[in-house]
């Protein structure tokens, strides 16, 4: 699998896939998509990069340990339930704000934060497994 073509294309492909995964994550509330799918896309992006260029470049590119990303995701997903405390509604009740920036209405919400958490958990958990497997293969 270590062809020159694959190795040359992989970084671009990975970047595009990660970008696409974020797009899928954010559109998820209204169109097909969401944190699970976005996370899976990003995880496969990193897996491809790892197969093409080795594990070390992926780890460098990700900067954080993938498991730390997963932990961060779980943390913010759990945290996204807390603002509801201040509204005196049960834990994890979705809260929305619609600020206007210029003449564009932006929809921000705690479910979005939650979905981002899901995304990170999926990316982190699967990438760390894939990388660990790839790593031992090469060593």
């Amino acid at each position: 699998m270590n062809t020159v073509i694959f190795r040359t294309v992989a970084p671009y492909l990975t970047s595009l896939m990660v970008l696409f995964s974020i797009f899928v994550l954010l559109r998820g509330h209204n169109e097909p998509g969401g944190g699970f799918i976005g996370g899976l896309i990003a995880a496969s992006a990193f897996a491809i990069y790892g197969i093409a260029c080795g594990v070390q470049p992926v780890r460098r590119a990700m900067y954080f340990h993938p498991m730390a990303l997963a932990g961060f995701g779980l943390f913010i997903a759990a945290l996204s339930g807390f603002p509801s405390v201040f509204e005196r509604v049960p834990y994890l009740t979705g809260l929305w704000v619609f600020p206007m920036i210029g003449n564009v209405e932006l929809a921000l919400s705690t479910p979005m934060l939650f979905d981002i958490g899901v995304y990170f958990v999926v990316v982190g958990a699967i990438t760390s497994i894939a990388l660990a497997l790839e790593e031992r293969e090469t060593s």
Partner: protein
């Protein structure tokens, strides 16, 4: 529950968590000086609580909170009565001083920020624990104190002793926490309430229930592990591996009293039974004696103090269970006094260690000139610990003997044993406070000098408070002791003890205690050697027993694992699939749920095409020469299924299916390439036939199950609800996603936690390198499972659509 009567309190209770979040940042900016800033948090809490003290003393009870998960009876409610208020003031007040002390003690330590964050997390948990009204809030916070205690004991995690002590404390207190969970469920089952406020109003319901004994044993399990009652006391002395501020705060002044708090809280509804008044004093007095005798033999200042803490907790449990207003008053006096003097003595021990470089009592002497302020604080604390006037400990001791001095063999026996225990504690108090300071000064200690203000402030303030509270006993009685004793007794109690000794039996017993104590103090070295010899002769203790129990557990699980996981993947797969087929078909046949033969649907040509592709993929799997080819071919079938999902209007599911299939193939291929398997399949024909039969039976089971599910009448209630409300309530058009992140967010939270934990487990398995054969087999199983888990989560959400 009086809703939102006093909402600021809830925010105040959340302050320590905010401080925990800020501490690493503050330490990065201001180094150890950050503690001056951070100590304002607990101080603010203290002021807030103190502001309620007057009203609470007049018999008012403040409650409030917000409902959290109302469907499960879980709420974030709090209750401020005499008991929780005094505990809260001790936690926040001593907490303020401890945070300052930590800054001095760990000045320049690389991880000071993390340490303070852990301390604040603990403080928040402990405050919440004593303030919590809801059972579940109490349980969660109870466990959080165990976890933060674990983190703090193991703070110096490079040392093996710290790690062992941390794990030991977690196992013991965590086990108690599990019993407490069971206790709360039983109590909720009996009384039907999940709030302490409501529970306290149930009167005799709990005592008269046939399940009282069960609830009693379980509550004791929680309380005795946390409050280190004999024979579960061993984790507490080991916890002295933690830095001294932790020992002073968690393991003497606050956390270990959580068990006593629980008993006191339950006293109005569970106390005054024969069982309660027999078992508690028995364990209490055993703990008092064991703790104080074991303290004698120690040479380390902190260990000596730790064992006296064990002894004091025993005394508190004994008094709580002894029965009667006076005993409860005595427990309250002693609890407050103990927090003050023991906190002081621990901080003094830490300061000595910090400035003189050793905590060994045999190497310390003559420090009084070098450390006069520390000496003053230590002396005041020791006098209070010894129960001498005019200190708060004296009030406690008077009340103890006043309560115990009753006719009857039981009371007399307890009194005699209590005198022995108290005398021994007096000895230890003076040994810790006097030995290092008196005598001639030693050359090797010449560099010792008074600690900086951060190290001095805590012990001085606490020890002087022990004096002031005793002198202003009227104030202390009205604001602290009477309200707390009233809460514990469940009826109004007025405490009247003062520093002026009253001639009578209690005073005589106090005097006797002091005389016995002085007699032992004179022969301290002999006593220590005798105890050491005795313990050496016994040669076994619960601490060693703990190691043996853990080792036994490990051996047992290794044996079980060897038996079940023999390392043959074929066996595992066969067992799993045979069981699966039996369950599916057995249930369908047994309950007469076999589906009718459905009519063949009219499919378009491209739908037939997709089916053909799926079949072709499966054929390729079966006839592939090479395992890698088989895995990739399996992906063909998966993609075909994804296409079917797409055609039948489930784009989300289809999308996920594509990704899961891709990743499964990649991960399976990665695993396969590294397994030491033959590239191809070498099973004999007979084996192949058997395997094929199992596979087909399984497939038949699944097929029939799905058919019978689709033949049930479809209840569209849920789908309609989601379709109607997804846009209106949750502002989303993608119903699947709205269900996942909003309507059923709590489920998803659980699922992603599972994903994370599974990931960690797999990572751990991959990293076990020394047994390549067994662990790779398990890798394969788990990686095969993970995408299924994700798929399962999606499917369950999709099914309602």
């Amino acid at each position: 529950m009086a809703m939102l009567a006093d909402q600021p309190t809830l925010l105040v209770l959340a302050l320590p968590f905010l401080a925990a979040f800020l501490s690493p940042l503050a330490v990065r900016l201001f180094a150890y000086r950050a503690v001056w800033l951070l100590a304002l948090f607990p101080f603010a809490i203290f002021l807030h609580l103190a502001g309620h003290a007057g009203a609470v003393a007049n018999g008012e009870v403040f409650t409030g909170g917000i409902s959290w998960i109302p469907t499960l009876g879980v709420s974030l409610s709090w209750r401020m009565d005499g008991l929780s208020l005094v505990f809260g003031m001790l936690i926040s007040g001593i907490g303020t001083l401890i945070i300052l002390y930590s800054g001095g003690y760990l000045k320049g330590h690389a991880a000071l920020g993390r340490f303070l964050a852990f301390m604040f997390l603990f403080m928040g948990s402990m405050l919440g624990l004593v303030m919590a009204d809801n059972f579940y809030a109490l349980l969660v916070l109870w466990e959080m104190t165990s976890v933060t205690s674990f983190l703090l004991i193991g703070f110096d995690h490079n040392r093996q002793a710290s790690r062992r002590a941390a794990i030991q404390a977690l196992v013991v207190t965590g086990g108690g926490g599990l019993m407490l969970i069971a206790a709360m469920i039983v109590i909720q089952g009996i009384t039907g309430v999940s709030e302490l406020s409501l529970l306290l109003a149930t009167g005799d319901t709990l005592r008269e229930s046939p399940y009282y004994v069960v609830a009693f044993i379980l509550v004791l399990g929680g309380a005795f592990t946390k409050s280190a009652q004999f024979p579960l006391h061993f984790w507490l002395p080991n916890a002295m591996e933690a830095p001294t501020p932790v020992s002073a705060y968690l393991h003497s002044a606050t956390m270990v009293k959580a068990g006593v708090y629980l008993l006191m809280r339950m006293n109005p509804v569970m106390g005054e039974t024969v069982l309660w008044e027999t078992v508690l004093p028995l364990f209490g007095i055993a703990t008092l004696l064991a703790g104080s005798l074991l303290a004698i033999r120690q040479t380390d200042l902190k260990l000596k103090l730790a064992y006296t803490t064990v002894a004091s907790l025993g005394l508190l449990v004994m008094l709580t269970g002894f029965g009667g207003e006076k005993a409860i008053e005595a427990a309250v006096y002693y609890l407050v006094a103990h927090s003050l003097f023991k906190g002081t003595l621990f901080m003094v021990a830490g300061t000595i260690d910090h400035e003189a470089g050793t905590r060994d009592i045999r190497k310390l002497s003559g420090l009084r000139a070098a450390m006069p302020l520390t000496f003053a604080a230590a002396l005041l604390a020791a006098l209070s610990m010894g129960g001498l006037p005019p200190l708060f400990g004296f009030l406690a001791k008077e009340e103890i003997y006043y309560a115990l001095a009753k006719p009857g063999a039981w009371a007399i026996a307890l009194t005699i044993l209590a005198i022995v225990g108290n005398a021994l504690m007096l000895v230890i108090g003076f040994a810790v406070a006097l030995k290092p300071f008196l005598g001639k000064s030693r050359d090797e200690l010449h560099h010792a000098h008074e600690g900086p203000v951060l190290l001095i402030a805590g012990p001085l303030v606490l020890s002087v408070l022990g004096l002031v509270l005793a002198l202003a006993s009227g104030f202390a009685n009205r604001i602290l002791v009477s309200p707390m004793a009233s809460s514990v007794a469940g009826e109004a109690v007025t405490a009247v003890a003062g520093v002026i000794p009253h001639i009578g039996l209690p005073l005589a017993l106090s005097g006797l205690t002091v005389l016995v104590g002085i007699a032992i103090y004179m022969r301290l070295d002999n006593a220590r050697l005798t105890m050491a010899k005795l313990l050496w002769r016994i040669g076994w203790g619960p601490d060693k027993g703990f190691d043996q129990a853990i080792a036994g557990l490990v051996r047992f699980s290794v044996a079980v694992t060897r038996f079940i996981h023999n390392g043959r993947l074929e066996t595992y797969v066969t067992v799993v699939f045979v069981a699966l087929a039996a369950t599916l078909l057995g249930a369908l046949a047994g309950f007469g749920e076999m589906p009718r033969m459905p009519a063949l649907p009219g499919l378009t040509f491209y739908e037939w095409g997709i089916l053909a592709i799926a079949l072709a993929g499966l054929m390729a799997v079966i006839w592939a020469d090479n395992r890698l080819t088989a895995i990739v071919s399996l992906g063909i079938q998966g993609f075909a299924v994804a296409l079917i999902f797409m055609l039948f209007g489930a784009p989300d599911l289809s999308f996920t299916q594509f990704m899961v299939e891709t990743l499964s193939v990649v991960i399976l291929a990665l695993v396969m390439t590294r397994l030491t398997l033959h590239k191809s399949d070498h099973r004999p024909m007979s084996q192949r036939l058997v395997d094929a039969a199992i596979a087909l039976t399984c497939a038949a089971g699944f097929g029939l199950l799905l058919l019978s599910v689709t033949q049930l009448p479809f209840n569209s209630e849920l789908s309609d609800f989601f379709a109607e409300n997804s846009r209106v309530i949750a502002h989303g058009r993608n119903i699947v996603n709205v269900i996942i992140v909003d309507f059923r967010g709590l489920d998803t939270l659980g699922e992603i936690a599972v994903v994370m934990v599974t990931g960690l487990a797999i990572l751990a398995l991959i990293r076990i390198r020394h047994q390549p054969h067994t662990d790779e087999v398990e890798d394969l199983e788990l990686t095969g499972e993970l995408p299924g888990e994700l798929k399962g989560g999606r499917n369950s959400a999709e099914a309602v659509q």
